[in-house]
Every structure is written in structure tokens, then in C-alpha cells.
Symmetry: D3
Subunit: 229 residues, 6 copies
């Protein structure tokens, strides 16, 4: 039986806000390299960078009815995450739905399917990550679930999970791990500032990370060009 789960738990506002300055690649590293959506998920414009709480929405191919239902469950600071039950390039989402989401403070859309009106969406600066762009319209015939665990672009997403998305793509951080991941990612970010300065000064990662012994132990040889390789 199709179900809409209401009043899902969100992460505290300050935790979500903490992720707003952290890139997808940094957070991905900080949480042990998991949670990434597949590389087919691309933003419709760049640069772009958001973090928010997931409201999840399962749709069937060619039918966007449940997106209409899901909007009512969204609050300011949320990110709507939509997945079809099987691959579909239809344009499930356009400028009218984006207007509605913006009116309710939603920070962006992540959809493993197509979107349309991307010219207007870009003018509105409403962030969208999708696996296709296509003007093909959809119907409103089939009910499904809102705010249950779904699979989006190869990744399980539960309602209230944290979504971080930027020019590189989309990452999911489990709700219960978000505080730890935030601390770890911020530490990582701080550490990179120092490394970047050393690299700008011309130091090599071979030296910064002390890789030379291990390379030699693995048998790597250096030969002059023209010598017998």
C-alpha cells in the first residue's frame, strides 16, 4: 500500500549548515568513501553547492504525480530526492514545480531521471542534479511512496539523510552519522589548507606524504630517456 510518511525527523539546523561549506569530495573522503550517487547525476548549471535534509519520493516511469504529493512534505532547508522504479529520461520536473519548492524554502532537487525548463530553472537559480534533460511530459496516474527508503542512482537514501551536492555530483550522509562526519570533514578541510600552501610553494606529494621508500620497495625504477629501459 502506498504511503506518505509525515513529520520525518531532520538533523539539527547547525549540523546541516556546517556541511554548506564542504565539498562533496571532501565529505566523501571523510565518511570512508561511501554514499556517492553514480556519475551520471549532473547539475543543470554550475557553479552550485547545497546541503540539506532529504525528502524522498518514489515515482514510476513517466508519472510525476508523487512529486506533487512530496512537495507538501518539504520544509525550508530540505532537498527533494526522486527516483523512478526503473530508468526513465522523461522530464518529470519543470519551472512550475520549482517555483513551488522555492516558495517553501527547498534548496534543490536530486532526480535520477530527466528534467525540463532548464533555461528557466537556471534563471531562477534553483539547483537540480539529474541524469537527463528532456522536455518529454509525464502523467499523473500512479501513487507511490513519499519518505520511505529509496534507491537513487545506485545509492539507498532514507528520509532525513543529509544531502550534499556540488559541481562534482551528489553525496548522501546517513542521518545518524552526520555529526561525526561533519567533524571529520572539517578537520580534513583544515588539513588541506596547509597542504595546498606547501604544494603552491613547489613541494611534491612524493615528499609531503613520504612516498619514495614505499615506491622503491614496490620495485619502481627510474631510467634516463634513451637508456635501455
Amino acid at each position: 500500500m502506498p504511503v506518505v510518511v509525515t513529520n520525518i525527523e531532520r538533523l539539527p539546523r547547525d549540523i546541516v549548515a556546517g556541511f554548506a561549506d564542504l565539498g562533496v569530495a571532501t565529505v566523501h573522503e571523510a565518511q570512508g568513501r561511501k554514499g556517492l550517487l553514480g556519475p551520471a547525476m549532473r547539475p543543470i548549471y554550475r557553479p552550485v553547492h547545497i546541503a540539506g535534509s532529504a525528502v524522498t519520493c518514489q515515482v514510476t516511469p513517466g508519472d510525476n504525480w508523487m512529486i506533487h504529493v512530496a512537495i507538501e512534505q518539504c520544509r525550508a532547508g530540505d532537498v527533494l530526492v526522486v527516483a523512478p522504479t526503473e530508468p526513465c529520461t522523461d522530464g518529470f520536473f519543470g519551472d512550475l514545480l520549482a517555483t513551488s519548492l522555492m516558495a517553501h524554502g527547498v534548496r534543490g532537487l536530486v532526480i535520477d531521471a530527466g528534467v525540463r525548463d532548464i533555461g528557466t530553472l537556471t534563471d531562477m537559480q534553483f539547483p537540480v542534479w539529474s541524469s537527463a534533460v528532456h522536455a518529454q511530459g509525464t502523467v499523473k496516474e500512479t501513487v507511490g511512496d513519499v519518505n520511505t527508503t529509496i534507491v537513487c542512482a545506485g545509492q539507498a537514501v532514507s528520509p532525513g539523510d543529509l544531502v550534499v551536492a556540488d559541481d562534482d555530483g551528489v553525496l548522501i550522509v546517513r542521518k545518524e552519522e552526520a555529526a561525526d562526519v561533519l567533524a571529520s570533514a572539517q578537520a580534513r578541510e583544515a588539513n588541506e589548507v596547509e597542504k595546498r600552501a606547501r604544494l603552491e610553494a613547489g613541494e611534491l606529494t612524493l615528499d609531503i606524504y613520504g612516498m619514495r621508500d614505499r615506491l622503491e620497495a614496490k620495485g619502481l625504477r627510474y631510467v634516463e630517456a634513451g637508456e635501455d629501459e
Copy 2:
């Protein structure tokens, strides 16, 4: 026998002009969701938006000779639509051919194959929708047809059909249906202005479209998070 059809019939100038303000998604809805080229057809730069009359050109893989022939058949306000007889990513078109088309007032190119010189084409602001970008050159050996009905990106296109193209992709409107579709699309556009205002004010599509009864009839249930779902 290969043939070039000359002096094809075009739509009246005011009808074509009417489409210049209408997005692909809107016109696609207005004509009953048909006529869209496949989602692999992408513009080489954005934003972009054109409408014009189709001059059609069939090429063979790796051979752009017929594009040279087709240019002579183009008039101001036309859009050149090119399809190879089978899939090919070669760069059939570059800045010299674009210079020639612009000199004759052609509004853009739609090609289910590759193009090149896209840096210069972008500087020139000559709109192109293609399924690939590749510098690979082509030969001039095989003659084919100009201004016959072709299949481009999964869609039949006849000479004189209306082409509307924007950031979302490319749409074909049959010549004989263009006047009706224009009226219908303009009405649709007007209707969206009002809806957008209501959505901006925070109303939900569930209410604007009166969807709640039908959702309930389909068995959709609402449960609080944490309740037994």
C-alpha cells in the same frame, strides 16, 4: 536517385515568429506530447532559443557533402536539420559552414551527429544542437537528398516543418498543424502565469489541481514518522 527539392513551402512569417517566445516544453505539451527529438540532442551553448522552418538534409556517415548542397536551399529564418543514415560522431559541421549559414540568415543547425569548432561557434553565437562534439573531419564523396522527409534523432522531419529549440532540446511541429499549435501554446503560456503566481504565494499543486480526492481514492495513506507504517 538523389534529389534536391527546391522552393519548399514555408510557414507564414508571423506564425514562425509566434513560436520564438515559447519554450520547447510548452509547445510539446500544446501539441499533445509528440514531435520531440531524443534527449541526446544537446545545445553547444546555453542559453539559446530559436524557431524556424526546417530545411532537411540526409548525409551518410563521415560525409558532409550534402550540407554544402543544402545551404543553397536555405533562406532567412530557416533551420537546417541534418541526419546521417546511421549513427556517427564525426564533426560534420564547423565555423566555415556556420559563417555561410549566418550570411544567409539561417537561425541554427540541428544535427544527429558531431560538430566541431564549437569554441568559435559559441563566439559567433550560432546555435547548434548535436548528439556529439568531435573534431573528426569528413569527406565529400556521396550524394543524397535535400528537402525530403528524414528521420532525425528518432523523429520524422519534413521540409517546411517548424523547428523550436531551446536549452531543453529540439521539437518538430508539423507544418499543417503549426497555426493550431501556436494558439494552443500561447493559451497554455498565459495560463501558467497565473499558476506561477499562486505557487509563489505558497499554494500547493495538490490544491490548485484538486488532486486530494483522487489520491485518496487510489489508496494513498498518510502516517506519522515513527508510527507503524
Copy 3:
């Protein structure tokens, strides 16, 4: 046995500099339509245009260790060319490695795999051509070769070969052919200036290239629309 070849031969600075003004499509034509990497290789931002000497680097899927090794072999004016031993969309390269390459005067990266931090790379204006964008991290476990001949996006690349890359994609010019190709490409470019002027004035390529007789000989017919085709 894995090997790093040091002090590879580069082309004279003036030859490399000569290619900086020439587009990929022009050079591709000038060298007889060879040397192009596949159309999946796309720049992460546009417009972009570089020329430089190739430093080559073979990596294994999901392992970017040899890129760290390769950086030490790069000099000002080089382009780093990286290929995995089999297809992989992982993000092998990000902003820290780019900072290191920029500090040593490297002009860009060509990689038949994924990259990440593309927002920052764009801000830095460090040019990258890749076949994917993905935040997925890599390990540092496997040693391989630097500055041996590799296959990148379907094209053999040897250390010291010239790399030309722009919005259209990436082209390799063999070291030993570079001087001849440069002369030929410059001549071609000069020739195009005149052609462009004639096309802007409305002349047709059918006349400029004298194609009409050959088209007729191939049997191409012209018929008025509405006549019996």
C-alpha cells in the same frame, strides 16, 4: 617491471608556442586526420585552449599513485596525459594535485577517467579534459609506468608528443612530425581567413570549391517542390 623514464626529450619552445593559436580541428586536418582522442573526452570548463608536451602516466583502475610520481617528471609547458589500464570513472585527480601541477608550470591534464573538485579547478582555471566527473576517491597501492607509450581514449601517446586541446577535444601530434604539421596548419589557417570573408559576403561553398559539376556527374537532380519527385 614498472619504470619512470626521466628527462624525456621535448619539442623546441617555439614549435609548441606555434600551436597555441591553432584549433584542434585545424591541426587535425593539417596532419591528415589522425591523432584525435575519442569524443568522450570533454573539457571541464569552456572556453579553453592549450598546447604542450606530453608527460604520460599509466594508472590502474581506482589507483592514482602514479600521478603523484608523474608530477615530478613534469616541467613548465608540459601537459600530463593519464590513462587507466581499463575503463574507470573514479575521480583520480582533484584540486590539490592541480595546485602542484600549476606550481610547476604544467598547462593542463588529459585523463581517460574521472576527475573531481571541478568547481575549484574551474576557479583556478586549470584546464582538464576527462571522460567523467565523479567524486569517488582512489587508493595508492599499485606502481606503473611514467613516460612510456600509452593508449589514451583510443590513441597511442608517447612522451614528448605534442598535445593540442580546446573546446572540441584533444589531439596528439607525433613529436617527429610536429614541425611539418605546424607549417601545414598555419598555411591552412591563413587560407581559411580568405574563405571566411567570401562566405560572409554570401558566396556558396558550391561555387568556391567548384562542386557543381561533380555533383551533377554523380547524378544529383534538382526538382521544384510539388513537382513529381
Copy 4:
């Protein structure tokens, strides 16, 4: 308005029968290398070889209702050709519909979408060419056209056109050209018998087709291995 065209014209029985012994590649050559469906169209089992008259059927993604309608329009000796209005891998067709088609003497199905029950279809020896295999079911909500011209796998197909299909794929021969193409294909086939005998005896195509002079004129050189190439 959706329409079903009844009592379409078929080719004479003896012409269709003449194609039953001719492979797709041979007929494709005989009609000037046109009419081939794209290479994604593959048979569900091999070997297989049919020829018949096309009954065409347009469906929408995920909706197979019009196939039910189309079956009534099929007669013994027909081939049902189905195309969705946009790409879809759903399983539009299974063993029950195949049972119905076989009961009416239909020779096979060509569908640019998915099919299911292919184990049973193989046991029944009902030939199918499709672009996907997937068990995903479809609905019966949308009406469309039967026996109008459709685009299937990149090729326009009109009702009554001849369909030839074998292990290589699917070919369309225009109704009005079928008699000429048959004669030409049969002549070609006869000619190949003699060539095959000469090739079996060890003769080379270089000699049979007299290619050596033309190769030399194009500048082809022969050098011994180890010589300076």
C-alpha cells in the same frame, strides 16, 4: 486523433516468399544500402530468418495497449513492427501475446523496446527482434495509431512494407520497391555462389575484383618487415 487503419495493402504472396531465402545483408546491398534498423535490434534466439508484410503499431512508454489492438489487424504472413514514442526498456510483449500472434499466422515481432518470457518464446520458436529484454510489465491506458507510418530504431516503416529479418538484424524494403529489390537481390545471391567457389579455391579478392592497380594509384606501398618503413 488516434486511428487504426484496416485492410492495408500487402505485397503479393510470391514476392514475400521470394525474400524468405535472402539474408538481410544481401537485400540491404541489393536496395542500395538503405532501410536497416539500428544495431541495437537483436533476435532473442538464433538462428532465425523471416520475411513478411509490416503491420505497424505506435505505443507510448510503458503502455502496450495498442499491441492488443494491432493483433486484430494482422493476417497470416505479417510481421508486427512496434515502436514506442520514446526509448523504453519495459517488457511490452510476452508469451500470451505471442500465442495470439501465432494463432493468426504472424511470422514474428520487431520492437524497439523490451520483451519478456523469452525462454517460452524460444521454446515456441516465435521470432522476436528487440532492443531489450526485461520482465517489467506495462499498463493499458493510452490509445495510439495502428498502421500509420512510424519510426522504429531510426527507420521509417509504413504498413505493408516488407520486413526481412535474420541473425544480423532487421531490414525494411518499401512496398513499391519490393519487386525490383527482389530481382536485384536474387541476382546478387547467384553471383555470390561463383565468387564463393573461387575464394574457397584460394583466389584473392584483390585479383577477383582487380583492385591492385587502384591501390597502387592511391599510393599503397609494400615493404618487407625489418626494412626501413
Copy 5:
């Protein structure tokens, strides 16, 4: 922290056995059209048909170590379901691992990645569904989870879920729904026997399902070929 869950709960033997005669398409319909893995999952030989309890295994790209660990958790009647954390075509599995699985009564392998030794696997008649065939070997460096919920080919799979797989692909039935789905699928199967007989006798689905009124209500018209359509 990586974990192996031991002694997972399996479904009663008779329920699993009941699915052995039911095709993927039938069970998919019986459970409301959910649970299908994506169409890229294909069997390495045909015909093939199995049902069993899922043992799940998460691997990282290019690393098959956890398959070795998972085998110990398998019992007679199980099906091993393997998913990489991101797309990979490497050959994670070959004839030695298959020998081990067969020795413990495992009924087959489902893997969203590559396999190798498929000639030998076919000779052994060990069923495998995979998304690629490639001889590329893998390493044994990274530990992961066995018998936790994974995402395989777009579908969440929990340990002990029922797997049904045949020529059409692979379907997952939730453990807790299996008994109901079995009853429903058997009823469906029985119903199809009667329908098949009527179809073989030449009846049309238009009549068996009583579709004609609904088609007319939707506006479908019938016209004779040659009439004004």
C-alpha cells in the same frame, strides 16, 4: 566497521521450492511489479531458471575478497548476490569460485559486475546473471560486508530475500512477503493456462479482456486504408 552476519534466517524450503516453477515475469506481476533488477543483468547461458535465498555480498571495484568470505556463509539452496560499491566490469568470479559454490549446494550467482571463465561455467551448468563478461582479474585487499542490505542493479536486497531468476533476468521477493506472493503467482499461472488455450483457438485479447468499449470511449477510430484518415 565491516561485518559478516552469520546464520541469517531463510524461508521455509517448501516456499522456495514453490517458486522454482514460476517465471520472473509472472512473479513480478504477482507482487505488484516491483523488485526487478535492471535490464543489464543477463544470464551467461540459456535456458536457465532458479529460485533460492539471497546471501548478500558488498565488494569494492576490482576486489573480490569478500566473495571468498561470503561463500562460507552460503548453504544449500542459496543464491549469492554480489554488488560493487560503484560500477565495474572486472571479472570478479570464475570457475574455481563456482566449483566451491556448487560443492556447497549454492544454486547460482547474481552479480552487478563482470564474470569470467564463462565457457567452463556453462559446461558446469552453474547459473550466473551478470552485467558484464570480462577476463580482467581482481585483487584481495579490501574487507566489506556480508549479509547486510545492499543495492544490486538498482534494487535493495536483504539477506534471506527470495531470488527468482530466469532467461528474462532477476527478481527479488521480500522475505516477509514471499508466502503471499507465491500464492498469488500460482493463481496467476493457473489463470494463464486457460487464457493461453483461448488465444491458441484464435480469440483476441480485445474480446477476452473486454477492451473494445474502453478503446472507443478513449476516441480510437477505425478507418479503411485509402479512406481519408
Copy 6:
């Protein structure tokens, strides 16, 4: 300038013969996991298994003329390896060319492009590995190289290199490494016989390879289902 290199060096007959019993996966492991062509290269029928010396042939898209030239350079025991200069699905090769190759004792064809007449090729039992099947014909206009180093499906292949191909795909062994690789592969094969016997008896690879300590050291934990994971 296009060139045909004649009288290339082949490996001794007994070395080639030694590979005839060894699978692609085994030899791939024995030579350090290199030399595999990409997974898109599939045999047109199964089972199939050959080994032979490479004659290489570079073609341009849609032009098979150089295959005719290459046949003259083939001797008994060779395998013809063909690569287009860029991706192409055309049918470059059919039953007449196969007849000619068989007449000269050639063992098979490897082509990173399309082939046709696969029904007849299967009847003839002429082995072919290709990346596509398509009936689309090709022309004979462009000369290229025979027996130079080419890139085929991502792998460099030199004339006289050893080709091993079976149901899994295609592997290249460098001429100069073939004797060593043969010895190593035969030892590996012998070793697998013993392992297979132990696995058939129910032993686990965890014990045969002594993996348990290393797994524990990596932190892998075992928990009973239902316990707190």
C-alpha cells in the same frame, strides 16, 4: 604514406600451439593482468577458443578495403586483427571474406567494429570477436596500413603478437614475452587442477589460501543475525 609490411615474423608453431589449451583468463593472470581487449569485444557464437599470430589491419570508418589487402598477408595459423581509426558499428566483414580467410588457414577475426552474415559465419564455424553486429555495408575508397602497430579495443597490437581468444574475450601476448608467458600459464593451469579438487571436496578458499588471519587483522567481525550489528 600507407604501407603494407610483408613477411612479418611469427612465433614458433609449438609456442602458438601451446596456447590453444589455455583460457584467456588463465593467460591474462599468467602475464601479470595486462593485454586484455575491452569487454565490448564478444564472440559471435559460443563455445569458441583459438590462439594464433596477429596480422594487423587499420581501417577507416565505413571502409573495409584494407581487409582485402590484409588477407593476402595472412598465413595458416594467423588471426586477423582489425581496428577502425574511430568507433564504427558498420558490418566490415561477412561470409565471403571469411571464406577467403578459411581458404588460407586463418583461425579467426578480431574486429573492434561490426560484422554481418553471422548466421552463415556460425554455420561455417569461423570464429569472430566483434564489438557490434550490423548488416550495414562498407565502401572501398581509403588505403591504410597493414601490419603496423594498431590500437584495438583499447589495447596496442603489433604484427606477430600472440592472440588468445575464447568465450570470455580477447587477449594479446607480446611476441617477445610469449615463451615465458606460456610456461607460466601452464604452471598456473596445473596448479588449478589440484585446487579444483579440494574445492569440489568442500574446502573453502578462506582455508586453502590462509586468509582468515589477514581478514581479522583488517578488522572484519562476525556477528550472529539478530545480534546488535
